[in-house]
Amino acid sequence: MKKYSVFAVAREAMRHHTGWTRAWRDAQPKKRYDVIIIGAGGHGLATAYYLGKNFGITNVAILEKGWLGGGNTGRNTTIIRSNYLQDPSAAIYEKSRSLYETMSQDLNYNVMFSPRGVIMLAQTEHEVRGYKRTAHANALQGVTTEFIGPEKVKSLVPIINIDGPRYPVLGGLWQARGGTARHDAVAWGYARACSDMGMDVIQRCEVTGIRQMGGRVTGVSTNRGDIDCDKLGMVVAGHSGHLADMAGFRLPIESVALQALVSEPIKPCMDVVVMANTVHGYMSQSDKGEMVIGGGTDGYNNYTQRGSFHHIEETVRALIETFPMVSRLKMLRQWGGIVDVTGDRSPILSKTPVDGIFVNCGWGTGGFKAIPGSGWAMAELIAKGQSPLTDAFGLNRFAEGRFIDESVAAGVAH
């Protein structure tokens, strides 16, 4: 792998950029791997990367039915924060956020992490109390957040209307170290690093069956032939239920479509991320100047990757109330992704009823921020069979009633 640096750019500039090579190899599947990861999205690639980096396991294949990062990794609103209420959530999301800070250097790939700060608006008395509670919990967890008043919100976000007729801004939960990153670059950076360690990133390779013998996984069948493995990691978000069905177990997951949209590019007007959970909308401005807007999920099971139109109406209506200037913007694009939602809105990182199969899913509507932390924890789980970060997120928590109840803490924009 060629190291990317200012000297590389200068050298290539001298020879008309003829020396750049592929960032990752277009690998063909081998007969056998130590570990197969299904799903080359952010979480799958991060899992493979930390398997190699932290545990020296490099005989790894990452199988992807479509193209790299073409699922939810490329469909989210790129928000990174760790202001969760429950201890296990705060631990894994804060690990993740801290890994984002050094990711560009670590991967030698610019993921454009921008710790611009995230505000979650409190627009009802209940939210004020809820967020104060979260701020106190975060203080105990070692996550730096702060409850701020409406004047501070206005000074951070001049375009906001804090005297809204229906939902005036009463304050906000401010995480100064949160922010955004370039989502595609995260997938590409991990893929490049994995490929460099000798791992095979295999695109257009769809898993059609999971082979087992005596309650233990032996490999997978794909549209490019059978591949053997010792351990199998399923990291496929919305399609987890579909894969679990192949392996013969069920998951407490339902898949729904979550949408986002972007406006036409405008001059810089907002340099933080604002989430308004009561009125169902969140917004940030991309480096291109587009306002990136997150919407709501459909209420029904759905694999369509588009979502219902009335959710866009609701989101835009809410944002116009909070940000009156948005009413003059044209919307450019809208898209949807299939998110895997669990009953308690917390992820599942767990062993499964089949020996050797590990599952990482259920990140629901907030998986992007968790990519490095999830990969870090999942790699430890696969390598050692146990990880302090994943202990609380086991599949057994549903039977045992140990929910990590974040649906209340996080509101809609989880």
Partner: protein, 110 residues
């Protein structure tokens, strides 16, 4: 946008008039059941990619619950039927089998 027909009152309307209630025909396990059965009833879902039987409520209408058979890939609605049933009606299953030759209805799971 989904267009559904309420089986209870016969009104055909857009999805905003209804509220989705998740997987249909779950067998209820209560006190005295095994923990696995109870967990299955409360949390485990088939979440199929394709034909899905589900519960809907006509919230901004007659307020009644009913069942819908729908494809989660294409959003095609195969039909509505009464909430007072344990299995989908045979003619609806025959109609779905006709349209989706690869599909077989799973036996009711725990």
């Amino acid at each position: 946008m989904l267009v559904l027909t309420c089986h209870a009152c016969g009104v055909t309307a857009e999805e905003t008039e209804f509220h989705a209630g998740g997987e249909a025909h779950l067998k209820r396990f209560g006190p005295g059941s095994s923990e696995t059965d109870f967990e299955g009833y409360l949390f485990m879902r088939d979440n199929p990619k394709g034909v899905h039987f589900e519960r809907w409520r006509h919230v901004y209408g007659c307020g009644k619950w009913f069942h819908v058979a729908r494809d989660t890939m294409t959003l095609e609605v195969f039909g509505s039927y009464s909430a007072q049933t344990y299995t989908p009606p045979d003619d609806l299953i025959a109609q779905i089998e006709d349209k989706r030759p690869d599909w077989t209805r799973k036996a009711a799971t725990a």
